[in-house]
């Protein structure tokens, strides 16, 4: 159970923010009537759940993954904005009403079962159901008056098919006429009416309405829903799950706060689940891995040891313990300077009074160790993997095209490579645990799993279609990310050793051609935004933000899994080295011995 569960479960307006796969849906599904019933059956959770006020009827409204594609088609096929709004608004409203009825049904128990009633349940008799359905049919302008929840749902589905038919207006003009006849549907008005009706017939006084994955809903509707966080209805707490960047005001030229706009902390409580820019907390991720190991009858400790036993981790460079690992600077120095020919590192350390590896272990004083060891050796370490010694005296080392991923091996690196994202963890564990059980060597297993998962993430980023005018300079998210990543890698793996190379970007005067790509990258989790000091603000504007590339992409560029200095980004960054010099993931290599 994530630590923020009580925050989200409480009866109050919540905006849950995070990229795909972070667990927003799992959390909101746990707050449905069947979810709450299941949670309360678990003895291990009772102490956590007891203080939470669950005295509300939970309504769960998920988005549909096909909405975005359908909305794109509507934009192409339907000529006027008014008709587009009618169709998309109608599809959205009828979907939400359908989910509203389904959720209410899930919370309903028959009249005779009152003695078992939980706070999140409501007793509904057949007569009450008929009364509610009848009143809703009128309120929701349904074609026929219904006497059951089933009838309501079927009518809503039939009406949503009228909206679908209207998309083909050129061949189906009557469907578009029918949509115009129905007029604009306002889900919130209809929801409020449902609450009135349910209160009148069943006495329901408190609700939570959870809107899940609403970022793919029509933007004009989303901004309307968001505005209602301030003053929707005293009887309902609204819970939204959103991607990190709030883009539903883009059509209106961006978000401009007005008197009606809800305010963080005052009108809603933001829960930011996005990857942490720095100092991540992987407690929940560790718990997930432990659970998965138990489910697959594998010892958690043995799994950690398995990953840490990789032969591709340079011998002696990391000291593993139950809490993580510590770098061994003297050994890293020997590998970097001796094996990889990193004379630039050597020069840097000489300038700091370190002549050879033995001097490092003898360093005393916190400040001195911080200056020479903590800042320098995370960078020296990755260089020791991806630089190779040459015979050229002018350029004693060069970037290697080695396809191995030894730097990224080990249990703690797995946590970083997934950013603690539950879905990413699941993908990695599928193969890694199987390989361990099958007796596959740890370095081979990780060398196969890392590029496959990086490519999978990149494929997801590439599949986020961004509507663009290709006659202009608009860039795809992947192109922009690649330019950013390779530019940073130039600094990390360049000829000259920088103890603190830039590993993030400050976005300043961003060229308009990059804007959509950056938004897409943020929302897919490929870019991680540094939260402000409080860490509690929604993100309406990228200007001035500091971003880093997700560690989920780090092996593609050979970037370290640490945060670093920043550099400015306004346009496409220039990459000094040709991309041909980059190791290729596509072969899902099996190097490192």
């Amino acid at each position: 159970m994530p630590s923020y569960f009580p925050e989200v479960a409480e009866y109050r307006n919540i905006v849950l923010v995070g990229p795909r796969g972070i667990g927003k849906t799992t959390l909101l599904k746990a707050l449905t009537a069947p979810g709450l019933t299941a949670l309360h059956r678990r003895d291990d959770l009772l102490d956590l759940l007891r203080p939470i006020d669950f005295d509300y009827i939970p309504i769960y409204i998920p988005a549909e993954s096909i909405w975005k594609g359908t909305a794109g088609l509507v934009a192409k096929e339907i000529q006027t904005v008014q008709d587009r709004d009618l169709i998309l608004g109608g599809l959205f409203t009828d979907h939400c009403l359908h989910q509203l009825v389904s959720s209410f049904e899930e919370a309903a128990i028959p009249a005779g079962a009152g003695h078992d009633k939980q706070p999140w349940q409501v007793i509904v008799s057949d007569v009450q159901e008929a009364q509610i359905a009848e009143r809703c049919s009128e309120l929701w302008k349904l074609d026929k008056i219904q006497k059951s929840f089933l009838g309501l749902k079927i009518q809503l589905l039939q009406r949503s098919n009228i909206y679908r038919g209207a998309i083909n207006a050129s061949a189906n003009a009557p469907a578009l006429d029918a949509v115009r006849e129905i007029g604009l549907l306002d889900f919130l008005v209809m929801l409020r009416g449902f609450m009135d009706i349910a209160q009148a017939y069943c006495g329901v006084k408190r609700w939570t309405i959870s809107f899940d994955e609403m970022e793919i809903a029509p933007k004009s509707i989303l901004s309307h829903l968001y505005e209602n966080l301030r003053s929707f209805d005293q009887r309902a707490a609204l819970k939204f799950s959103l991607f990190p960047y709030v883009d539903f005001y883009e059509e209106q030229g961006g978000f401009i706060a007005n008197q009606a706009s809800p305010e963080d902390a005052q009108d809603f409580h933001p829960v930011i689940l996005s990857s942490k820019f720095a100092n991540p907390d992987y407690t929940f991720a560790r718990g997930l891995i432990q659970s998965e190991c138990e489910r697959r009858s594998v010892s958690y400790g043995a799994f950690r040891r398995y990953l840490n036993s990789s032969k591709a981790i340079l011998p002696g460079t990391r000291e593993f313990s139950d809490t993580g690992f510590e770098r061994r600077p003297a050994t890293i120095y020997e590998h970097a300077v001796g094996q990889a020919g990193d004379l630039s590192l050597k020069q840097h350390l000489i300038s700091k009074g370190i002549k050879d590896a033995r001097d490092i272990d003898g360093l005393r004083g916190e400040n001195r160790r911080a200056e020479v060891v903590r800042k320098v050796f995370p960078i020296a370490e990755i260089r020791s993997y991806y630089l190779v010694k040459t015979k050229d005296k002018k350029n004693p080392s060069r970037r290697t095209s080695a396809k191995g991923y030894g730097y990224y091996h080990g249990f703690d690196q797995l946590l970083a490579l997934t950013e603690g994202n539950p879905r990413a963890i699941k993908y990695y564990l599928n193969d890694l645990i199987s390989d361990m059980v099958d007796g596959k060597e740890a370095h081979r297993s990780q060398n196969a799993a890392i590029p496959m998962n990086v490519d999978r993430f990149r494929a997801m980023v590439a599949s986020q279609a961004i509507p663009r005018d290709l006659s202009g300079e608009d860039r795809s998210a992947l192109k922009v990310l690649d330019a950013m990543g390779f530019a940073l890698a130039d600094g990390v793996l360049g000829d000259v050793f920088h103890p603190e190379p830039p590993l993030s970007f400050r976005l300043k005067n961003i060229h308009p051609s990059l804007k959509d790509a950056l938004v897409s990258a943020v929302n897919s989790g490929a870019l991680v935004v540094e939260q402000n000091v409080s860490g509690k603000k929604l993100l309406f504007d990228l200007e001035g933000c500091r971003v880093r590339l997700s560690y989920r992409l780090a092996p593609f560029f050979k970037l370290p899994t640490i945060s670093g200095q920043e550099r400015l980004l306004s346009g496409m960054p220039e990459v000094r080295k040709t991309l041909d010099a980059q190791p290729d993931l596509l072969t899902w290599a099996d190097s490192d011995g």
Binding site: N168, A171, A465, L470, S471
Partner: protein
């Protein structure tokens, strides 16, 4: 919507109307080079992609010069002409070469044929597989991802919940897994093209199956590119079963014969079945296009229309 009945020996049919396209791919006019039925058809209607600066377009244009083709570059006029030609003949057999049409135009042509199905004798589909060219192995940027035309937006039904994704795999890197991660279906079937070039099969497998997205090996269904009859029945059976409990979305990547068959089956079950397309190419950017030459093999599928039962 009409249903269809496949014809056992499509190569024995003669066509009086040929529908094809004039494009930048060398194989776009392969049917007119190779098939007697296409050459002999009384009416030859070609859609003109007007890609003058790309690959074999001009060469193709010269080659069809003396064949009596009527060429259109306006799709609406082209579709109207198909309707007109069919109405002028008595139950004509129509040959449609699907090889080089993009999926949207292919869908619109098939929609048109279904619309006038009662006036058509038989439809013969032809497809010429391309000579193998190693794919780039890079992720391509997706420009559009959605229903191929409004006819394929799907239909809500109380009987169906969740999503079943049926993908016709191609050899483009990461395209299948990208679609799965965006659509998040409850179940995914991956139809795998076989029977042309082993290198093509290896590329499809390497660039897509390596991601290990299938929980159950039974969800991987090989289909023969050169045997569209069996492919038709395989897709149809699958859609029929899935429609009993899930919303079905077909994503026809890979060979166009799979796209054509999927679209036909979706039209039979219209409007229940969704057919989507991924668009990564743009005609304004020639670098995103590549030429394709035919291998010499041909896939044939023919059918007559019958009254629909659904």
């Amino acid at each position: 919507m009409a249903d269809i009945t496949p014809i056992v020996d499509p190569d024995k049919l003669e066509a009086s109307i040929y529908i094809g396209c004039l494009g930048y791919e060398h194989r776009s006019i392969e049917a007119l080079r190779r098939l007697a039925s296409a050459k002999a058809s009384k009416t030859k209607l070609l859609f003109d992609y007007r890609s003058e600066s790309d690959h074999c377009y001009l060469e193709n244009k010269r080659e069809i010069g003396g064949l009596g083709c009527v060429v259109f570059d306006d799709l609406k006029v082209f579709l109207d002409q198909i309707r007109l030609e069919v109405s002028h003949q008595a139950a004509p057999n129509v040959q449609l070469d699907v090889t080089s049409f993009d999926r949207r135009k292919l869908a619109l042509i098939l929609e048109t044929l279904f619309e006038i199905s009662s006036s058509i004798g038989a439809v013969i589909l032809t497809y010429f597989p391309r000579e193998f060219v190693e794919p780039s192995g890079e992720l391509e940027e997706v420009l559009e991802f959605g229903p191929v035309t409004p006819q394929f937006v799907g239909q809500a039904s109380y009987e169906r919940d969740n999503l079943s994704l049926i993908i016709g795999a191609g050899y483009e890197f990461g395209r299948v897994i990208g679609a799965i991660d965006v659509l998040e279906p409850e179940v995914t079937y991956c139809m795998f093209p076989v029977g042309t070039d082993p290198r093509f099969e290896r590329a499809v497998a390497h660039n897509n199956l390596g991601f290990g997205f299938l929980d159950d090996p039974n969800l991987l269904i090989p289909y023969s590119v050169l045997n569209p009859d069996s492919t038709y029945f395989a897709i149809r059976r699958l859609i029929q079963v899935e429609l009993n409990e899930r919303n079905v979305l077909v994503l026809p990547l890979g060979p166009k014969i799979f796209a054509a068959l999927s679209i036909i089956i979706a039209l039979i079950y219209s409007p229940a079945v969704m057919v989507w397309r991924y668009s990564t190419e743009d005609l304004r950017r020639p670098s995103s296009l590549s030429d394709a030459r035919a291998t010499g093999e041909v896939a044939l599928f023919a059918f007559t229309f019958s009254e629909g039962s659904n």
